[in-house]
């Protein structure tokens, strides 16, 4: 277990964390401002991955694929919001959970009909397929490094929008007191559609960037989504800052755990025991982390909701 190896896994954790953040940012805003539980957020992630892949194959250009994938996901997101989800804002969370659950089933199957159930192969563009040299002496995939960069760029962009623009002010106000914002005469419907579309685009971005690394297949969204829930719970609903902190923590803990828990355990207990217990415990780590955070702060680290 060299320092180089640890550092590499740290970067992987950061990259995973960034993916989680992109999903968590949209989700936490929708949860905080619209008080709407959207299980289909993972479906938007999946849609982004599939659309980008299809568009890239069709046009032959990676960047065109990215652009079309993003635009497509934004469109799908807003369509869902207008057609299916508007009626649910007034309903209780149970109804929202059930309805968006139905959406997940629908999208997973739709994607299977269009592109089949088997995992599709997506590759990074040629100009990102090389490796870069780290100061530790090892080499790191340029594509993953690019994801980290893009992720932090988006985080910075979000920070700017949320803290420095009028829209951002409305978002922050809405996250802590929805009714007040409506009472101030803001066009709530438009705000909701914008926030939802924005969140959808972020999820789509996460999906299309993740495509070449993880599998592009029906149901890919839900695997990530539950981890995104953990991030949002740890970070606090409605807080983008919480989403970033939570995502980085979860990403790093999960990645490092999977990489190093088994060998670490093997130093204290027998090798065969570590062989089975290691991966088991590693997969449970982030949930145990969530439980620990909840024990001390049931509202998460940076809850946006006021009294």
């Amino acid at each position: 277990m060299t320092f180089g190896l640890v550092f590499e896994q740290l970067l992987n954790g950061l990259q995973f964390g960034v993916t989680l953040f992109l999903m968590a940012a949209g989700l936490t805003l929708v949860l905080g401002i619209m008080n709407f539980v959207n299980l289909a957020h993972g479906s938007l992630y999946m849609v982004g991955a599939y659309l980008a892949l299809a568009a890239a194959n069709w046009t032959g250009s990676y960047l065109a694929g990215v652009a079309l994938g993003l635009a497509g996901t934004l469109l799908v997101g807003m369509l869902i919001e207008v057609i299916a989800l508007r009626t649910l804002y007034a309903r209780d969370h149970l109804d929202q959970v059930l309805a968006t659950f139905g959406l997940i089933l629908f999208f997973n199957e739709l994607v299977a009909i269009l592109w089949g159930r088997a995992a599709l192969f997506a590759s990074p563009p040629s100009w990102l397929s090389h490796h870069i040299d780290l100061f530790t002496g090892s080499r790191y995939p340029a594509y993953r490094a690019a994801i980290i960069v893009v992720g932090f760029f988006v985080a910075a962009l979000l920070w700017y929008v949320v803290t420095r623009t009028r829209l951002g002010m409305l978002i922050r106000a809405g996250a802590s007191n929805r009714t007040m914002v409506a009472a101030l005469g803001v066009n709530i419907r438009l705000l909701y559609t914008l926030v939802f579309g924005f969140g959808a685009a972020l999820a789509g971005l996460a999906g299309l960037m993740a495509g070449p690394i993880y599998n592009v297949q029906p149901g890919m969204g839900e695997l990530v989504l539950i981890q995104v829930f953990v991030v949002v719970v740890i970070g606090g609903i409605g807080s983008v800052r919480g989403a970033l902190v939570g995502a980085i923590i979860v990403g790093i803990v999960d990645t490092l755990g999977r990489a190093f828990l088994k060998p670490l355990m093997a130093t204290v207990i027998s090798a065969p025991a570590a062989e089975s217990a290691g991966p088991a415990l590693a997969s449970m780590l982030i949930y145990l982390l969530m439980a620990a955070v909840l024990a001390f702060r049931p509202q998460g680290l940076f809850p946006a909701r006021g009294g």
Binding site: F107, L110, I226, A295
Partner: protein, 310 residues
Amino acid sequence: MAARKILPWLGAAIILALLPPFLLAIGQPFYLDLARRILILAIAAVSLNLILGYGGLVSFGHAAYLGIGAYAVGILGFYGVGNGWLHILAAVVASALVAAAIGAVSIRTSGIYFIMITLAFTQMLYYLGISVAEFGGDDGMRLKTRSLFPLVDLNDPVAFYYVALALVILSIFVTHRIVHSRFGMVLRAAKSNESRSRAIGFSPYPYRLAAFVISGAMCGLSGALYANHTNYITPNLMSWQQSGDLMFMVILGGMATASGPVLGAFALLLVEDLLSGWTQHWQVILGPLLILSVIFFRRGLAGIFYKADA
């Protein structure tokens, strides 16, 4: 109970009791299998109805206890223990303990947090199930032996059916008593108006936790039966899809009603069976159907037959 109220129950019990001989007579043993599966999952739905329908706790991770109950049976069998009573005991106790642990942490939260947290914890158990290779991991494990009971042989499909039916009736009856007891009243009051409940001196937390544990234990029983039914256990029993299915059974049937969960189980599983016979892509139809049912059909099937319990 007034005679009028008991009549539909009696009628339903008789119909269900006569189902096996009827199905065998017309040569459709597959439907006996399906009916048994529905009854077993109905027990899980009844258990969920206690905390979701009556208690208002949107627990999106209830399938965890199906899995725990099932694995209790499987793991005991794996190590050579076939005694049915031990299987049941292990299933119920294990589920109760896990429910206590998860509930203790989750019930302190509410609303959106609670939904996400219960889902997350169940996912954790799902991953645990996958990663323990000894018990089949991803692929699951075959049951070495069905639970052995002195008087009844679970290998006999008809006998097993009647066991399931009896347990459904028992679980409905037990839930009914709980819901109308002092304990049940606190639970329902906390759902109806939590701040009022606190203002008169009820702390909802211990009651909700207790209900959560009871519900988990009952669902564990269902899981133990399910393992015996399928003879095969996979972590998919604990998937979020399974949790969603259970919730839909409760909603479609009618929340906070005695018959709702059973009606819902029949409705959902029969529709799924029907649709999957038409096309392998049946979920693309089921999805929108479920969405429409949430938007338009909120009161559930039981609401058609009679008014829900107050």
